[in-house]
């Protein structure tokens, strides 16, 4: 235990002496939390529409005015033909072409139906799908209005009216989804990269050999590396929570004790991962590359930014094999829903399992005598 104290003192001294890392510890949570949730916004707004109005009737003008006034669309051009309107899409100046056929109003009144052409630039799948469906909603709404205006048929009122409410995130704002994810991202980066690089740097400098020739026990050395970064991780997490509250007003609904219990266990798991990487690599470049490879998979597959439930079965299986997936889920549950331990205990055991397995593996693989 006495030896461990000396190791810890040395590690903390080195961390506090490294001004770049210290600055990053504060800059990372603040800047990432302020910028990313605003930038990574999946709400589709400002869909650019090029209109081809072949009718020029009062109905067609009403429809176009309605689209423009909906708040989601911006009419960028009114072209005489679809061919010309498509050029806007080709030049990326428009996302959607809305084509109103000739005699739109006449047909609609006489026959009671009419077709409208909607062409969507589907390169950005999300924007296309959401933009397209918003447009359909707006047109549907317009459709109902003219039905009301033109018929007094009481049967038309027999439609199912759906009202729905968003729970836990009443305005369905993306930032409530993304802020907890960024808190997770912070812990993952600190745990995964800092430890791996720190130990590998000792390998490069040759100081690890000096350590290996002393009677330091393996667990002392490894705890000496884990504890300081664990403290750094918890500090950054706290800072992140403060920024989430200050900037976005997100105050965890659930208990702080539970949130920190999970953060503690999760940090141990990612620190173990970093440690493991360091035992398999010889220099910082290798460590960086290997850690980055896994981090990319963790980030993109863990449900940080996209829903794990909508992945194919094999991808879900991979996603469940990373500690990140379980932690993201729990952070969202505790922060937004106020889940209690009973709701998330399964995830807790999984995180503890990852922490034990990764650290155990790293300790086994770290050898003082080769």
């Amino acid at each position: 235990m006495k030896v461990l104290r000396f190791i810890l003192r040395k590690e903390f001294r080195q961390i506090f002496r490294d001004k770049t890392i210290l600055a990053m510890m504060f800059a990372m949570p603040t800047i990432q939390l302020i910028i990313l949730p605003l930038a990574m916004n999946f709400d589709v707004k400002h869909v650019k529409v090029a209109v081809v109005d072949n009718d020029h009737s009062s109905y067609s003008r009403q429809l176009i005015a309605k689209v423009g006034a909906s708040g989601y669309f911006r009419i960028v051009a009114a072209m005489p033909s679809v061919r010309e309107a498509m050029q806007y899409i080709e030049r990326e100046q428009a996302d959607v072409v809305l084509e109103i056929p000739p005699a739109f109003e006449q047909q609609l009144i006489r026959e009671g139906k009419q077709r409208i052409g909607v062409s969507v630039d589907a390169i950005n799948g999300t924007k296309a799908a959401l933009g397209g469906s918003y447009l359909v909603t707006v047109i549907g709404d317009f459709n109902r209005q003219i039905t009301v205006n033109s018929t007094a048929d009481p049967a038309a009122a027999n439609t199912i009216a759906i009202t729905f409410s968003n729970w836990y995130n009443p305005l369905a704002e993306y930032r409530f989804y993304i802020v907890p994810a960024i808190l997770v991202l912070l812990l993952t980066l600190i745990g995964g990269f800092l430890t791996a690089l720190n130990i590998v740097r000792e390998k490069e400098a040759g100081t690890i050999e000096q350590i290996n020739v002393t009677p330091i026990r393996k667990w002392e050395f490894i705890l000496g590396k884990l504890i300081p970064f664990w403290v750094v991780g918890i500090t950054v997490f706290t800072l992140g929570l403060a920024v989430a509250w200050g900037v976005y007003g997100i105050w965890p609904v659930g208990s702080f004790a539970l949130l920190y219990t999970f953060a503690a266990a999760y940090l141990l798991a990612v620190l173990g991962f970093g440690l493991l990487v360091s035992t398999y690599t010889d220099n910082q470049l290798q460590a960086m590359f290997v850690a980055f490879f896994f981090m990319m998979i963790f980030m993109l597959m863990s449900g940080l930014f996209t829903a794990v439930e909508s992945m194919p079965a094999w991808a879900r299986a991979i996603a469940h094999c990373t500690p990140v997936t379980h932690f993201v889920k729990v952070v969202r549950m505790i922060v937004l829903k106020g889940s209690t331990f009973a709701d998330v205990q399964y995830e807790f055991y999984i995180l503890v399992f990852f922490a034990l397995a990764l650290n155990g593996w790293a300790i086994l693989n770290y050898r003082k005598t080769s």
Binding site: Q14, E209, K368
Partner: protein
């Protein structure tokens, strides 16, 4: 008869087809300055790493401070000091902090560390630099500091792997004064070197060629045996037949 602190019998280390250390046998006595010479790639560092408990031998036996190199590496480590070829104190810690860390790791109590550390810094003339980062010191001072740290916990044996590489002649001379002082206090010195003038300072010298011990005796008797004026010539006669070169 003096006490044997290192006993080495037929010690071998093989990496695949390459036999880095080939059945070497020798004894080192307590308080002796034991020189380990050899061209680059002769297997000096590999042999030394086995004796320090950093690497497992492939075959043969060896005991350091009475402990087996196969099973009791951690006991060996409590009784030795080691200074590697590469400078290996922490460059981003100060002189005092480095001393404190390595002293603490060997289980010395804090008071004792403070006392010895103050003495050491005064002896080395580093009082003004005690709070400076080690990375900022000139190489010669770094090497002297690294040696002092390696013997700070008063080990029974200290292993020095080319300790004076890249150091100016004056500092080398001072460095050897420190080695003599340590040996006089009862610490056995096991040192590898390229400098043949340094070989003359040793009590006994081993010359390794291609992983084997080709000669082992006092510098005086080696010179007599090979009818040479100095150790340089002795080394040249033994080493020119070497097949391996460079690391």
């Amino acid at each position: 008869m003096a006490e044997k602190v290192i006993e080495c019998r037929e010690l071998t280390k093989q990496f695949g087809d390459f036999i880095a250390v080939n059945k070497i046998s020798f004894d080192v006595m307590k308080g002796e300055i034991f020189g380990f010479l050899g061209a680059n790639g002769a297997g000096k560092t590999t042999a030394m790493r086995i004796l320090c408990g950093l690497s497992y031998p492939s075959s043969g036996t060896a005991a350091v401070a009475g402990f087996d190199v196969y099973k009791q590496q951690e006991s060996i480590k409590r009784n030795i000091g080691y200074m590697s070829q590469k400078f290996s104190l922490y460059e981003n810690l100060t002189v005092t902090e480095n001393i404190e860390f390595f002293g603490g790791v060997y289980g010395l109590p804090m008071q004792e560390i403070r006392r010895r550390s103050n003495d050491l810094i005064r002896t080395l003339g580093l009082t003004a630099e005690a709070k400076k980062l080690v990375g900022a010191l000139p190489l010669g001072w770094k090497q002297k500091l690294a040696f002092s740290v390696a013997i700070f916990h008063r080990p029974r044996i200290v292993f020095l792997d080319e300790p004076t590489g890249g150091v100016d002649p004056v500092t080398r001379r001072q460095f050897w004064d420190m080695i003599y002082e340590a040996a006089a206090s009862g610490i056995t010195i096991f040192v590898t070197t390229h400098y043949m003038d340094e070989a003359e300072y040793c009590n006994r010298v081993t010359v390794m060629v291609d992983g084997k011990v080709e000669a082992l005796d006092t510098p005086a008797r080696l010179k007599q045996q090979y009818q040479a004026d100095n150790m340089d010539e002795v080394f040249y006669r033994l080493a020119r037949g070497a097949k391996r070169s460079a690391d």
